[in-house]
Amino acid sequence: MTNNWNRREFLQKTSAATLAALAAGAPVASLVSGCAGNAKTTRRGTADTVILLWMAGGMAHTETFDPKRFTPYTTGMEGNRVLSTFKSVPTVLDGIHFSDGLQSIGKVMDRGTLIRSYVAADMGHILHSRHQYNWHTCYEPPQTVAAPHIGAWIANQLGPKNPVIPAFIDIGQRFTLGEGEELKAFHTSGFLGNEFGPFFIPDPSQGMESVRPPVGMDARRFERRNQLYNELIKNGPVGEFGSDYQKESLRQSMEQAYRLLKSPEAKAFDLSSEPKASYDIYNTGRFGLGCLMARRLTEQGARFISVTTEYEPFKGWDTHENGHTRMENMKCQIDGPIAQLILDLEKTGHLDRTLVILASEFSRDMMVEGRPDATVREQVNQPDVLNDPKFYGMHRHFTDGCSVLMFGGGVKKGSVYGKTADERPCKTIENPIHIDGLHQTIYHALGIDPETQYEVEKRPFYTTPDGKGKAVMDLLV
């Protein structure tokens, strides 16, 4: 935004300050450096970095962060009787329980806020990737223009925090799996332009591959190659290719890539340099290692990092059978690494300005598909009476009450927001929060104006539909 001081006001307002500064021997540059670089926002937020921990596939709230009455399995039992298939365990917060298996996260809840009232969009017959699209872009697909991922908006608004680390890093998702094309549709910077798009690290244990010279090329050769490139350009015919933006942007980008690949910060992608004891705590699989990489990248100045448990139809949190046993495994994957991530960030002082969010596209229930007052067509048939342990679990998609965790970056500590019913349907009964509110809260914490927009095809396209949605100030300090 350009300011609208006029010349006269400028002289009036600055003359006194100028004279004072000159008298004090201040360098002239200090007179004009009163603003925050090229930031497009007007307010400094409470966070600089975002880590999104994505529970892909629909994480059942009653089996994780919002447990209800536990009913153990008996053959022939009625599904309707089962609200949770796990015992509840206490957390560090008074009267707040988690589902068994999440004890470690329970112990760090005094550092964050638990939201128990996220209500996912109502989009009819469930398709995971549509709800994920909605969560990540704040818009419902399809759209007439390519909607940007929240990470792309943040990259666009705030730029990289450290110029050699890509502003938007996406860890853990492969796109060769089922619904991969649907996932690609929102893992994009859309109309904002490719430069704000995600830098993909599909496998964190191979992270270094993405930021080091090609396999088989040592540092010396890499340097020589770059030198050769510059020499050839210098010695080639000049003039006719003059200076234009394509050439200039190519030169700059190549230079930037070269710098990243050579930079000490690139080591953040190399998990093998992590001390073994620490590595082992995180190493519960790809997701855990993703958390470790997120921590390392945060320390080096990343802006937005998404770490996913990875979406693959009928895998991960997408439990359509054996829900109970599958859930045990998922909790195992996330509990230790997430708790450790929070503790590590706290120890290094990064937690204060790093917003960590754990979320999923929707929740699950044993009986209700969709929401109680608007159920939709079944995806997978489920029996009402359980004659086999494989039916014991939350196998239907539920959109009316989901849990979200937030830590650091200006979020209240040890707080709980919203509530779901203790009997089926376990839907939100207090302080519902929707996707636009959640996004606005994140943007608010980052100091991004709620009405941030981008004009595309002559239409204003806001970060949240029509610029609506309000930051939930109760979540923030």
């Binding site: 935004m1 300011n3 609208n4 001081w5 006029n6 010349r7 400028f10 004009v32 009163g34 017959h125 398709l127 990737s129 549509r130 419902e140 697909p141 399809p142 759209q143 007439t144 223009v145 890509p166 649907e182 690609k184 549709a185 994009t188 332009g193 490719n194 430069e195 798009g197 830098f199 993909f200 591959e209 993405s210 930021v211 090609p214 190659r225 050769l228 490139y229 050839l232 350009i233 010695n235 080639g236 015919p237 006719e240 290719f241 200076s243 234009d244 933006y245 394509q246 050439k247 200039e248 942007s249 980008s253 190549m254 930037q256 070269y258 939709v376 095809e457 002559k458 239409r459 029509d466």
Partner: protein
Amino acid sequence: MQENLLKEIFNVLNFDSIVSILVESFWLWQFLGRLHPMLVHFPVGLLCIALLLEGLSWFRKSTELRPGINALLWIGTISAILAAGLGLILVNQEDYAGQGVTIHQWAGISTMVLAILTLAALRTGRLTLYRGLLVLTVVGVSVAGHYGAMLTHGDDYLSSVLPFGDKSGLPKSSDATVAFASFNTGQPLTGKQVAELNLEVRSILAHNCYSCHSETKTKGELRLDRKELIFKGGKHGVILKTGHPEDSEIIRRISLPADHKESMPTKGKHLNEKEIALLSLWIKAGAPWPDGPEKSLYRVAALAPRLPVLPPATVDITNPIDRLVNAYFHTNKVQWKSVVDDHTYIRRVYLDIIGLIPTPAQIQVFEANTRPDKREALVKQLLARNDDYAQHWLTFWNDALRNDYSGTGYITKGRFDITNWLYASLKKNKPYNWFVRELISPNEESAGFIKGIKWRGTINASQRTEMQAAQNVAQVLLGLNLKCASCHDSFVSDWKLADAYAFANIFADTTLEINRCDKPTGKLAGRRILYKELGTISVDAPTEQRLRELADFLVQPKDGRLYRTLVNRVWAQLMGRGIVEPVDVMDNEPWSQDLLDWLAYDFVQNGYDIKKLMYTITTSKTYQLPSVGIKDAGLVTAPTFVFEGMVRRRLTAEQFTDAVSLAFMPVYQDTSLVKMLPPAMHKSIPFARASLVKNDPFQTALGRPNRETVSTSRTSQANLLQALELTNGTTFTETLKRGAERWKAQYPTTDSLVTALYRQSLGRNPQPKELAVARKMLGKESRVEGIEDLVWAISLHPEFQLIY
């Protein structure tokens, strides 16, 4: 003398009106007036220097500078008198008014008087008085100068570059606001400003108020969507008093705190300061709203075709394009440059027509050819390479028709590709009217375009497949944005929600209900074509018949818009910038209406033949002009653009991949070719061309769009993610490895290898310096690693990357 002068000056001042009459509309006065800015810098400088020297004299206690100061003062004072005089002429001659002018005028005159007094004091030897007056004179010069600068450069000329500032008042985030700056001077708004102001106002009203105060819902009996209704007001009376925002109910209501019970809007977000300020501004300006049909607000391009009169041919300018461009150049004072050499031409035309770089042999033959019409012959020959042509243009059309080999929708059978149909149509050079006809009134193979992408579940009403068809047909084929109007009446054009629905309804099996911003209105859509001059759709006929009618109506020669859109797209592809930009907004002003009209007219005359169109363009002198580099990507589409020749472009993802494949080593294996093509076709594919493989991280990084939505232009700008993919991505790295082995085996010596590589990739021999660098890299026996690195460096060289 002093007294006389003073008297004269004051006489002039007292008789401003006489001056006005005297100087009225005579060119010399105007000319003299305009000398004022030139002259003022003189006294400014001289008087300041006089003070400086005077200070020096005082400091040194010497008088040796006095004669110089004396002269400076004399010249400075006379200049000041002249400047004041000319300034008075200027202010009467041209449109200057306002407080700033008054202050400037009196500051200038005072300065002049002070200068005269200073001179007088000096001459009478009153040194202290003289020094004091000199200081005052320089202060006067500064004040007058400052206000003068504000008049010339704007109020915030100085402060606008500062990084901090007062953010209150009207933020200048939108261009429109900037345009309104002059409003506050009290001058009447220009027609264009009125249009912009009204547009902004309507946009604010539409976004914030129409949901309750328009045709479909009229709370408090108030409607804000039509001029007479706004002025009529609602249940509680009038809502605005023109010229008096402070007494206007609407401003009072929107300015109330959100929790006040009379605050508006009651639903949705509160208007921000800027929006309120704009509405106030608008009311203050008399609430301008164009009478009659609202067409007048926006530029609407003519629908009918038009054959412009061709400017006369000259000895070397015979091609109709060149004749039209010649006239354009004449008007815009652009000089013709000589056409590019053979080497540049052959590379350019190869890449543009078939998407491949020429081989060294092809270049050699062409360069050796001495026939005068060899360029025409080359173009003909390239256009006749039907498969190569189709494989290149497939990329453009895939983007535009959002046809892809993978993507959303296929998983739930909600999407159909048209690859086979498209390939065959391009290969056959299907006349464009038939091409369009088959897209709109499709056969099984071409149905994918209007069927759109259907996601599982419920979707926004503005994205139902019929609406997608309407939007895509409008955007791609008619260069018309219907996306706004498919949700609510458009704020950037005259298209209404009802128009968009009526158009979409042609594609619908059952009558659509109009939804406004995804809320059903209870009204059923009509059925009509966007331009009713083109024909009337049989409302109750079966869908198939309606689509046939629509196709027939749209492809008629009298639908100039369809053909202008097409020729503009082809022009943009070949020249790097459309005659109209953006290419999807054909209502925008072309840089040459005659050229656009002629191309479209000629295209129809020539049997809707796209290849003929390309022939006409690529054999013109205009196409053969040296390419133009543009410093900032934003300037390419700016309305201030002046055409001077082809705008330099970067190779597309597909062109780059194919160039590497051809010059060095195929990037893709034949097994990567998409399965949609019939196996028989594989014979006509020289190597796995990038246009025929699925999108992958390599293509994405290089700019191939995901084809979920229509995409009609790609960016030429590089970025970090792309550079990383090119620096260490597996696709490229693997290609380099495979290729290097083969090249090493083929070329025993370093020199022969480097020479061959330069010839294959850049179509020329390496220069001695380049050869020296390469030798250093490769060593005597051409290490494989060295070859990889050299190829990498060449392929990222601007000479390889650009179409120039």
